[in-house]
Protein backbone atom coordinates (compact mmCIF):
# COMPACT_ATOMS: atom_id res chain seq x y z
CA UNK A 1 0.00 0.00 0.00
CA UNK A 2 1.51 3.30 -1.06
CA UNK A 3 0.69 6.72 0.35
CA UNK A 4 -0.99 7.57 -2.96
CA UNK A 5 -3.27 4.54 -2.62
CA UNK A 6 -4.22 5.50 0.91
CA UNK A 7 -5.18 9.05 -0.13
CA UNK A 8 -7.45 7.74 -2.92
CA UNK A 9 -9.10 5.30 -0.55
CA UNK A 10 -12.64 6.30 0.51
CA UNK A 11 -13.22 4.97 4.01
CA UNK A 12 -16.43 3.87 5.61
CA UNK A 13 -17.15 6.19 8.55
CA UNK A 14 -18.68 3.24 10.41
CA UNK A 15 -15.40 1.27 10.32
CA UNK A 16 -13.39 4.32 11.41
CA UNK A 17 -15.80 4.92 14.27
CA UNK A 18 -15.49 1.26 15.28
CA UNK A 19 -11.69 1.41 15.29
CA UNK A 20 -11.65 4.67 17.25
CA UNK A 21 -14.27 3.43 19.74
CA UNK A 22 -12.48 0.11 20.36
CA UNK A 23 -9.12 1.83 20.85
CA UNK A 24 -10.75 4.40 23.12
CA UNK A 25 -12.52 1.77 25.24
CA UNK A 26 -9.93 -1.04 25.26
CA UNK A 27 -6.69 0.89 24.85
CA UNK A 28 -3.77 0.03 22.52
CA UNK A 29 -3.84 -3.37 20.82
CA UNK A 30 -2.01 -5.12 18.02
CA UNK A 31 -3.31 -5.11 14.47
CA UNK A 32 -4.43 -8.76 14.49
CA UNK A 33 -6.53 -8.35 17.63
CA UNK A 34 -7.91 -5.07 16.34
CA UNK A 35 -8.98 -6.63 13.03
CA UNK A 36 -10.74 -9.41 14.97
CA UNK A 37 -12.42 -6.86 17.26
CA UNK A 38 -13.79 -4.80 14.37
CA UNK A 39 -14.71 -7.87 12.33
CA UNK A 40 -12.67 -6.89 9.29
CA UNK A 41 -10.03 -8.87 7.40
CA UNK A 42 -6.45 -8.15 8.40
CA UNK A 43 -5.57 -6.68 4.96
CA UNK A 44 -8.59 -4.40 5.02
CA UNK A 45 -7.79 -3.33 8.58
CA UNK A 46 -4.26 -2.39 7.52
CA UNK A 47 -5.70 -0.21 4.73
CA UNK A 48 -7.84 1.63 7.27
CA UNK A 49 -5.00 1.93 9.76
CA UNK A 50 -2.73 3.40 7.09
CA UNK A 51 -5.39 5.92 6.16
CA UNK A 52 -5.96 6.86 9.80
CA UNK A 53 -2.25 7.01 10.52
CA UNK A 54 -1.75 9.38 7.55
CA UNK A 55 -4.29 11.72 9.17
CA UNK A 56 -2.73 11.49 12.60
CA UNK A 57 -5.65 9.73 14.23
CA UNK A 58 -3.60 6.72 15.38
CA UNK A 59 0.00 5.79 15.82
CA UNK A 60 1.57 2.37 15.39
CA UNK A 61 4.64 1.60 17.49
CA UNK A 62 7.58 -0.66 16.57
CA UNK A 63 5.85 -3.71 18.15
CA UNK A 64 2.83 -3.22 15.89
CA UNK A 65 0.59 -1.87 18.67
CA UNK A 66 -2.02 0.61 17.54
CA UNK A 67 -3.05 3.46 19.82
CA UNK A 68 -5.14 6.57 19.52
CA UNK A 69 -3.30 9.85 19.24
CA UNK A 70 -4.55 13.00 20.90
CA UNK A 71 -6.24 13.92 17.61
CA UNK A 72 -7.84 10.46 17.56
CA UNK A 73 -9.22 10.97 21.09
CA UNK A 74 -10.53 14.39 20.05
CA UNK A 75 -12.16 12.78 17.02
CA UNK A 76 -13.88 10.26 19.28
CA UNK A 77 -15.22 13.08 21.45
CA UNK A 78 -16.26 15.03 18.33
CA UNK A 79 -18.22 12.02 17.07
CA UNK A 80 -19.91 11.52 20.43
CA UNK A 81 -20.71 15.23 20.67
CA UNK A 82 -22.02 15.28 17.12
CA UNK A 83 -24.29 12.34 17.74
CA UNK A 84 -25.59 13.85 20.99
CA UNK A 85 -26.08 17.29 19.45
CA UNK A 86 -27.87 16.23 16.31
CA UNK A 87 -29.66 13.01 17.11
CA UNK A 88 -30.36 13.91 20.74
CA UNK A 89 -32.38 16.98 19.86
CA UNK A 90 -34.57 15.27 17.26
CA UNK A 91 -38.18 14.93 18.33
CA UNK A 92 -40.32 12.38 16.57
CA UNK A 93 -44.08 11.99 16.64
CA UNK A 94 -44.42 8.46 18.00
CA UNK A 95 -48.06 7.85 17.34
CA UNK A 96 -49.62 6.52 14.16
CA UNK A 97 -53.28 6.92 13.22
CA UNK A 98 -54.08 3.35 14.19
CA UNK A 99 -52.24 3.49 17.52
CA UNK A 100 -54.61 3.55 20.52
CA UNK A 101 -51.91 3.13 23.15
CA UNK A 102 -52.42 6.58 24.70
CA UNK A 103 -56.23 6.55 24.67
Amino acid sequence: MTLKDSTEFKPDLYVIARIITILHEQGPMNRTNLSTAIGLSYDRTVVYLTWMSDRGLISIDSDGYVKLTRKGEETYLTLVQWIINYVGKLKFPRRSIGDRSKD
Partner: protein
Protein backbone atom coordinates in the same frame (compact mmCIF):
# COMPACT_ATOMS: atom_id res chain seq x y z
CA UNK B 1 -27.64 13.52 27.40
CA UNK B 2 -25.71 10.27 27.00
CA UNK B 3 -25.24 7.72 24.22
CA UNK B 4 -28.00 5.66 25.90
CA UNK B 5 -30.42 8.59 25.46
CA UNK B 6 -29.34 8.86 21.85
CA UNK B 7 -30.08 5.15 21.37
CA UNK B 8 -33.59 5.77 22.73
CA UNK B 9 -33.95 8.63 20.25
CA UNK B 10 -32.83 6.37 17.40
CA UNK B 11 -35.52 3.86 18.41
CA UNK B 12 -38.05 6.71 18.21
CA UNK B 13 -36.60 7.52 14.79
CA UNK B 14 -37.15 3.90 13.74
CA UNK B 15 -40.77 4.01 14.95
CA UNK B 16 -41.23 7.23 13.01
CA UNK B 17 -39.80 5.63 9.85
CA UNK B 18 -42.07 2.61 10.30
CA UNK B 19 -45.06 4.96 10.59
CA UNK B 20 -43.94 6.85 7.50
CA UNK B 21 -43.57 3.56 5.58
CA UNK B 22 -47.03 2.51 6.74
CA UNK B 23 -48.46 5.87 5.67
CA UNK B 24 -46.81 5.33 2.27
CA UNK B 25 -48.39 1.88 2.05
CA UNK B 26 -51.78 3.47 2.87
CA UNK B 27 -51.17 6.01 0.09
CA UNK B 28 -50.51 3.05 -2.24
CA UNK B 29 -53.78 1.44 -1.16
CA UNK B 30 -55.69 4.71 -1.63
CA UNK B 31 -57.40 3.81 -4.97
CA UNK B 32 -58.79 0.55 -3.53
CA UNK B 33 -59.92 2.24 -0.33
CA UNK B 34 -61.59 5.07 -2.29
CA UNK B 35 -63.45 2.60 -4.55
CA UNK B 36 -64.70 0.60 -1.58
CA UNK B 37 -65.75 3.71 0.32
CA UNK B 38 -67.51 5.22 -2.69
CA UNK B 39 -69.33 1.94 -3.37
CA UNK B 40 -70.56 1.86 0.24
CA UNK B 41 -71.70 5.48 0.13
CA UNK B 42 -73.46 4.99 -3.23
CA UNK B 43 -75.18 1.92 -1.82
CA UNK B 44 -76.23 3.82 1.29
CA UNK B 45 -77.79 6.53 -0.88
CA UNK B 46 -79.28 4.03 -3.34
CA UNK B 47 -81.14 1.97 -0.75
CA UNK B 48 -83.65 4.69 0.21
CA UNK B 49 -84.17 5.49 -3.49
CA UNK B 50 -84.83 1.81 -4.29
CA UNK B 51 -87.16 1.63 -1.32
CA UNK B 52 -88.98 4.74 -2.56
CA UNK B 53 -89.35 3.33 -6.10
CA UNK B 54 -90.74 0.06 -4.74
CA UNK B 55 -92.99 2.03 -2.42
CA UNK B 56 -94.44 4.02 -5.35
CA UNK B 57 -94.85 1.06 -7.73
CA UNK B 58 -96.00 -1.56 -5.27
CA UNK B 59 -97.55 -0.33 -2.08
CA UNK B 60 -98.42 -2.72 0.65
CA UNK B 61 -97.58 -2.05 4.30
CA UNK B 62 -96.64 -5.63 5.15
CA UNK B 63 -94.59 -6.19 1.96
CA UNK B 64 -92.92 -2.81 2.35
CA UNK B 65 -91.95 -3.63 5.94
CA UNK B 66 -90.40 -6.92 4.81
CA UNK B 67 -88.59 -5.22 1.91
CA UNK B 68 -87.43 -2.45 4.24
CA UNK B 69 -86.05 -4.92 6.77
CA UNK B 70 -84.43 -7.04 4.02
CA UNK B 71 -82.78 -3.98 2.46
CA UNK B 72 -81.56 -2.80 5.86
CA UNK B 73 -80.09 -6.21 6.71
CA UNK B 74 -78.42 -6.60 3.31
CA UNK B 75 -77.02 -3.05 3.38
CA UNK B 76 -75.73 -3.50 6.91
CA UNK B 77 -74.13 -6.85 6.04
CA UNK B 78 -72.47 -5.38 2.94
CA UNK B 79 -71.39 -2.31 4.89
CA UNK B 80 -69.79 -4.39 7.65
CA UNK B 81 -68.11 -6.60 5.04
CA UNK B 82 -66.64 -3.62 3.17
CA UNK B 83 -65.50 -1.78 6.29
CA UNK B 84 -64.07 -4.76 8.15
CA UNK B 85 -62.97 -7.16 5.43
CA UNK B 86 -61.85 -4.62 2.85
CA UNK B 87 -60.93 -1.20 4.21
CA UNK B 88 -59.83 -1.83 7.80
CA UNK B 89 -57.92 -4.98 6.87
CA UNK B 90 -56.24 -3.14 4.04
CA UNK B 91 -55.19 -0.32 6.37
CA UNK B 92 -54.07 -2.80 9.01
CA UNK B 93 -52.08 -4.86 6.51
CA UNK B 94 -50.59 -1.79 4.87
CA UNK B 95 -46.92 -1.83 5.59
CA UNK B 96 -47.04 -4.86 7.88
CA UNK B 97 -43.71 -5.95 6.48
CA UNK B 98 -41.97 -2.61 7.12
CA UNK B 99 -40.83 -3.52 10.64
CA UNK B 100 -38.47 -6.12 9.14
CA UNK B 101 -36.66 -3.40 7.17
CA UNK B 102 -35.23 -1.99 10.40
CA UNK B 103 -34.65 -5.27 12.28
CA UNK B 104 -30.86 -4.94 11.95
CA UNK B 105 -30.95 -1.61 13.81
CA UNK B 106 -31.11 -3.48 17.16
CA UNK B 107 -27.76 -5.15 16.47
CA UNK B 108 -26.22 -1.86 15.33
CA UNK B 109 -27.53 0.00 18.39
CA UNK B 110 -25.84 -2.57 20.63
CA UNK B 111 -22.54 -1.48 19.08
CA UNK B 112 -23.06 2.04 20.47
CA UNK B 113 -21.46 5.01 18.72
CA UNK B 114 -20.29 3.18 15.53
CA UNK B 115 -23.67 1.52 15.14
CA UNK B 116 -25.49 4.86 15.41
CA UNK B 117 -23.18 6.28 12.75
CA UNK B 118 -23.80 3.20 10.57
CA UNK B 119 -27.56 3.75 10.89
CA UNK B 120 -27.34 7.44 10.01
CA UNK B 121 -24.97 6.68 7.16
CA UNK B 122 -27.21 3.97 5.71
CA UNK B 123 -30.14 6.35 5.26
CA UNK B 124 -30.75 7.75 1.80
CA UNK B 125 -31.86 11.21 2.90
CA UNK B 126 -33.20 12.37 -0.47
CA UNK B 127 -35.33 9.24 -0.75
CA UNK B 128 -36.41 9.56 2.89
CA UNK B 129 -37.61 13.13 2.44
CA UNK B 130 -39.63 12.12 -0.63
CA UNK B 131 -41.07 9.26 1.45
CA UNK B 132 -41.92 11.67 4.29
CA UNK B 133 -43.77 14.01 1.93
CA UNK B 134 -45.63 11.09 0.36
CA UNK B 135 -46.27 9.66 3.82
CA UNK B 136 -47.95 12.94 4.78
CA UNK B 137 -50.47 12.31 2.01
CA UNK B 138 -51.00 8.79 3.34
CA UNK B 139 -51.38 10.20 6.83
CA UNK B 140 -54.01 12.70 5.69
CA UNK B 141 -55.83 9.89 3.84
CA UNK B 142 -55.70 7.72 6.96
CA UNK B 143 -57.19 10.54 9.07
CA UNK B 144 -59.97 11.18 6.51
CA UNK B 145 -60.73 7.45 6.13
CA UNK B 146 -60.77 7.15 9.92
CA UNK B 147 -63.31 10.02 10.20
CA UNK B 148 -65.49 8.65 7.37
CA UNK B 149 -65.51 5.08 8.71
CA UNK B 150 -66.15 6.21 12.28
CA UNK B 151 -68.97 8.46 11.04
CA UNK B 152 -70.52 5.60 9.05
CA UNK B 153 -70.25 3.16 11.96
CA UNK B 154 -71.60 5.68 14.49
CA UNK B 155 -74.31 6.73 11.98
CA UNK B 156 -75.44 3.14 11.50
CA UNK B 157 -75.45 2.48 15.22
CA UNK B 158 -77.47 5.65 15.86
CA UNK B 159 -79.83 4.78 12.99
CA UNK B 160 -80.55 1.42 14.60
CA UNK B 161 -80.87 2.92 18.05
CA UNK B 162 -83.08 5.90 17.14
CA UNK B 163 -85.22 4.67 14.25
CA UNK B 164 -85.48 0.97 15.00
CA UNK B 165 -85.48 0.91 18.80
CA UNK B 166 -86.31 4.20 20.54
CA UNK B 167 -88.69 5.86 18.04
CA UNK B 168 -90.97 2.80 17.50
CA UNK B 169 -91.54 2.72 21.27
CA UNK B 170 -93.20 6.15 21.08
CA UNK B 171 -94.39 6.38 17.47
CA UNK B 172 -95.76 3.33 15.65
CA UNK B 173 -95.92 2.94 12.75
CA UNK B 174 -93.08 5.36 12.01
CA UNK B 175 -94.03 7.75 9.18
CA UNK B 176 -92.47 6.34 5.97
CA UNK B 177 -91.19 9.77 4.93
CA UNK B 178 -89.25 10.10 8.18
CA UNK B 179 -87.74 6.63 7.78
CA UNK B 180 -86.82 6.91 4.11
CA UNK B 181 -85.87 10.54 3.54
CA UNK B 182 -84.50 11.86 6.78
CA UNK B 183 -83.31 8.91 8.83
CA UNK B 184 -79.96 8.34 7.08
CA UNK B 185 -78.92 12.03 6.78
CA UNK B 186 -79.90 12.60 10.43
CA UNK B 187 -78.04 9.46 11.56
CA UNK B 188 -74.92 10.35 9.58
CA UNK B 189 -74.91 13.94 10.86
CA UNK B 190 -75.26 12.73 14.43
CA UNK B 191 -72.59 10.06 13.72
CA UNK B 192 -70.21 12.73 12.43
CA UNK B 193 -70.83 14.94 15.47
CA UNK B 194 -70.26 11.96 17.77
CA UNK B 195 -67.05 10.99 15.96
CA UNK B 196 -65.66 14.51 16.19
CA UNK B 197 -66.60 14.71 19.87
CA UNK B 198 -65.01 11.37 20.78
CA UNK B 199 -61.99 11.45 18.47
CA UNK B 200 -61.16 15.16 18.55
CA UNK B 201 -58.01 14.63 20.63
CA UNK B 202 -56.68 11.97 18.25
CA UNK B 203 -57.55 14.03 15.19
CA UNK B 204 -55.94 17.21 16.54
CA UNK B 205 -52.89 15.16 17.56
CA UNK B 206 -52.67 13.81 14.01
CA UNK B 207 -52.72 17.37 12.69
CA UNK B 208 -49.92 18.33 15.12
CA UNK B 209 -48.00 15.27 13.93
CA UNK B 210 -48.23 16.54 10.36
CA UNK B 211 -46.67 19.84 11.48
CA UNK B 212 -43.92 17.96 13.33
CA UNK B 213 -43.14 15.90 10.24
CA UNK B 214 -42.34 19.14 8.41
CA UNK B 215 -39.82 20.24 11.04
CA UNK B 216 -38.21 16.77 11.05
CA UNK B 217 -37.41 17.01 7.35
CA UNK B 218 -35.34 20.13 8.12
CA UNK B 219 -33.54 18.40 11.00
CA UNK B 220 -32.74 15.43 8.77
CA UNK B 221 -31.34 17.74 6.11
CA UNK B 222 -29.01 19.20 8.74
CA UNK B 223 -27.92 15.73 9.82
CA UNK B 224 -27.21 14.75 6.23
CA UNK B 225 -25.25 17.96 5.66
CA UNK B 226 -23.21 17.55 8.84
CA UNK B 227 -22.65 13.84 8.30
CA UNK B 228 -20.82 14.76 5.09
CA UNK B 229 -18.77 17.25 7.10
CA UNK B 230 -17.72 14.47 9.51
CA UNK B 231 -15.87 12.78 6.67
CA UNK B 232 -13.49 15.72 6.67
CA UNK B 233 -12.38 15.00 10.26
Amino acid sequence: MSIEDVKARIIEFRDFLINIDRANAIADALPDIAINLLTSIVLLLAVPIIYEVIFVTYYDTFTMTIIGVALSVLTTAYFIYVIVAKILRKIQRAGQDVTGRYAHWDRLLNEGLPGIIAILESINYDELIIKIHRGKLGYVVAVIVYIIISTLIAGFALFGLIFLVILPIFVFPIPTQLLTQYSIPISLTLGFALTMKLAWNRISESIRTLWMIDSITWELRWIEHDLKRLYRI
